[in-house]
């Protein structure tokens, strides 16, 4: 196994005194993709927030390219190459699409032209202000804005939440068509889609990892998905095959 890009080791974290995550450990190597699954409120967002430095890290370590980053201020982590798209999207409502994208851009493969190729809808709406965008467009903008920081690792928190099926397909296609060497941690409620898009998976329950494995195998294990996620995949069109 190559040196991990990110190693999360025995992490206990939460908000103030409240501990949400306990003894969480996993690694992501460059070019790999990891799905993080679990029911509502198990701590999936908290995990990403912890990686980005927005929670109280009580114990354990976060190692990025061999360097401990658990003590770094939040703004220093994106500069190391971590790119996070929050569940709440939090686009800049009164800035135009172009301004939203330019506000944090750093040089690299992803520039305006490249993200507009990935999300043609955004190109059409370049001059439109954030608050005039639809939910799907806002999500595309949130992802594109993070891509503009040219991250080495992309953390997506429920990018498909609350979106119409057609937009879900469009976004799924965009994620799938990201360059092959992109590294991804994907938090999703749509377990079937997340498993189809990733190689590895961890499942959280009450702040602990209760299952880890290959996405392909997990997709074929309905009993497991039912137990931890309350999911019966046969209902879903994506599960077949």
């Amino acid at each position: 196994m190559p040196d991990p890009l990110l190693a999360v080791r025995n992490v206990r974290a939460g908000y103030g005194e409240a501990v949400v995550l306990d003894d969480v450990s996993f690694e992501v190597a460059a070019g790999q993709s990891l799905a993080v699954l679990g029911r509502n409120g198990v701590g999936k967002s908290t995990l990403l927030l912890t990686i980005m430095g927005f929670t109280n890290l009580v114990r354990g370590s976060l190692v990025w390219r061999g360097e401990e980053i658990g003590h770094l201020a939040p703004h220093q982590r994106p500069r190391r190459g971590l790119g996070w798209v929050a569940q709440e999207r939090e686009i800049f409502a009164s800035l135009s699409v172009e301004e939203n994208l330019t506000v944090v851009s750093r040089p690299g493969r992803w520039n305006l032209a490249a993200v507009f190729e990935l999300f043609p809808r955004l190109a059409e709406r370049r001059q439109v202000r954030g608050h005039h965008l639809s939910g799907g467009e806002q999500q595309m903008l949130a992802i594109a804005r993070t891509l503009m920081t040219n991250p080495s690792l992309l953390l997506l928190d429920e990018p498909l939440e609350g979106l119409a099926p057609i937009i879900v397909e469009e976004l799924t296609a965009a994620i799938r068509h990201m360059p092959g060497d992109s590294t991804l941690i994907l938090v999703e409620q749509h377990a079937d889609i997340a498993l189809a898009l990733t190689e590895h998976v961890i499942v959280l329950e009450r702040g602990r990892i209760v299952h880890r494995g290959r996405s392909r195998d997990t997709l074929r294990d309905p009993a497991l998905l039912d137990r931890y996620l309350g999911l019966t995949l046969s209902d879903s069109p994506h599960a077949s095959g």
């Binding site: 980005m52 927005f54 201020a73 939040p74 703004h75 982590r77 994106p78 500069r79 996070w84 929050a86 939090e90 800049f92 409502a93 009164s94 800035l95 135009s96 172009e98 301004e99 994208l101 330019t102 506000v103 944090v104 851009s105 750093r106 040089p107 520039n111 305006l112 032209a113 507009f116 190109a123 001059q127 804005r145 993070t146 920081t149």
Partner: protein, 333 residues
């Protein structure tokens, strides 16, 4: 807004570069600021007061309009600059340009100090902190009458002619030329700042200060920086007032001055750089006209106008003009 070709977007900051082009209306505006020399030679004193107020308003716009920092104590830096410029000349250094640089630097240092506190607060707390700092300084200047002259104002301000050639006389030719030039130069700096990646991050901070760090922007460092720049500009405005009128009174530090500049900026339109200038022109000209008729009603009308603008023109008069222009372009073929 200018349309940018997709090719221009390849560079990291192609979009921002495209925003810095000068528009025709802007060039026309700055040329028009020269008209008072020809058309209203007896109003040059007023014109210079307007230019100084405009500079003060642009300074507030940087922190309020762009970074979203509401301040009710911005006169603190204006007053510091005014007293510094006055005192420097009183103690024998009457050369205006170096006095201006010194006074604005001093205001900048104070601004940096204040920014360290300001950056930790938001919303109501921020308003109270800035208000408190303004009141504190006003009272300090009042008490230190051995230095400031207290309520009688600073005595003995003597400013040498500009470049040893143009003296600040009652006509105000030199005063207006000096104030206008300084307004223009600082405006160029402000415009540059606003259209830089730093300026754009300020607007991101205004929208969501908590999450900007998640995208790699050091919000607090940015806020400290812009607050310091704004303090330098406010100090410069105060110094200009002291130098062009050879008087400094406690009024330069008053709450009234902080409130007035806020009103001027909101009327003109915050977050659009020219809003403060337009607001200053309208406010000062109107006050000059009104004061002849019925001075005690001045704030009644200003209050009414403020309510009307906030209700009907949320982006100020300049925002309203922009909307009207956009509408006109749509209806006229």
């Amino acid at each position: 807004m200018a349309t940018v070709s997709l090719e221009a977007l390849r560079g990291p900051h192609g979009y921002l570069r495209a925003q810095t082009r000068w528009r025709r209306t802007e060039i026309a505006f700055w040329l028009a600021t020269l008209l008072p020399f020809l058309l209203f030679p007896s109003y040059l004193q007023l014109a210079s007061q307007i230019a100084i107020t405009a500079l003060f308003a642009v300074s507030l716009d940087l922190i309020l309009g762009y970074a979203g920092i509401v301040s009710l104590g911005h006169a603190a830096f204006f007053g510091l600059g005014a007293y510094a410029a006055g005192l420097i000349s009183k103690f024998g250094w009457g050369e205006p340009l170096s006095g201006l640089v010194l006074a604005s630097t001093l205001a900048g240092v104070a601004g940096y100090g204040a920014s360290v506190v300001v950056v930790r607060f938001r919303h109501l707390a921020l308003i109270m902190i800035t208000l408190g700092m303004g009141l504190l300084l006003h009272e300090a200047a009042n008490s230190a009458s051995w230095l400031t002259g207290g309520a009688d104002g600073l005595q003995g301000v003597r400013i040498r002619p500009l470049l040893e050639l143009f003296s600040f006389d009652l006509w105000g030719r030199a005063a207006y030329a000096y104030a206008l030039l300084m307004l223009f130069l600082t405006f160029l700096v402000a415009r540059r700042v606003i259209n830089s990646p730093f300026g754009l991050s300020l607007r991101g901070i205004r929208e969501n200060a908590v999450r900007m760090p998640a995208l790699g922007a050091p919000s607090r460092a940015h806020v400290r920086k812009v607050y310091t720049i704004a303090a330098v500009m406010a100090g410069m405005a105060g110094a200009l007032l002291a130098q062009t009128t050879s008087t400094v009174s406690l009024e330069v530090l008053s709450f009234q001055r902080s409130a007035d500049v806020l009103v001027i900026l909101i009327l003109g339109g915050a977050g659009r750089l020219y809003g403060g200038i337009l607001g200053a022109i309208l406010y000062m000209v109107a006050r000059d006209q009104f004061s002849g008729i019925n001075p005690q009603y001045w704030y009644f009308w200003i209050g009414l106008l403020l309510i009307a603008v906030v209700l009907f023109l949320p982006n100020g008069i300049l925002g309203g003009l922009g909307r009207a222009a956009a509408w006109w372009r749509r209806v006229s073929p």
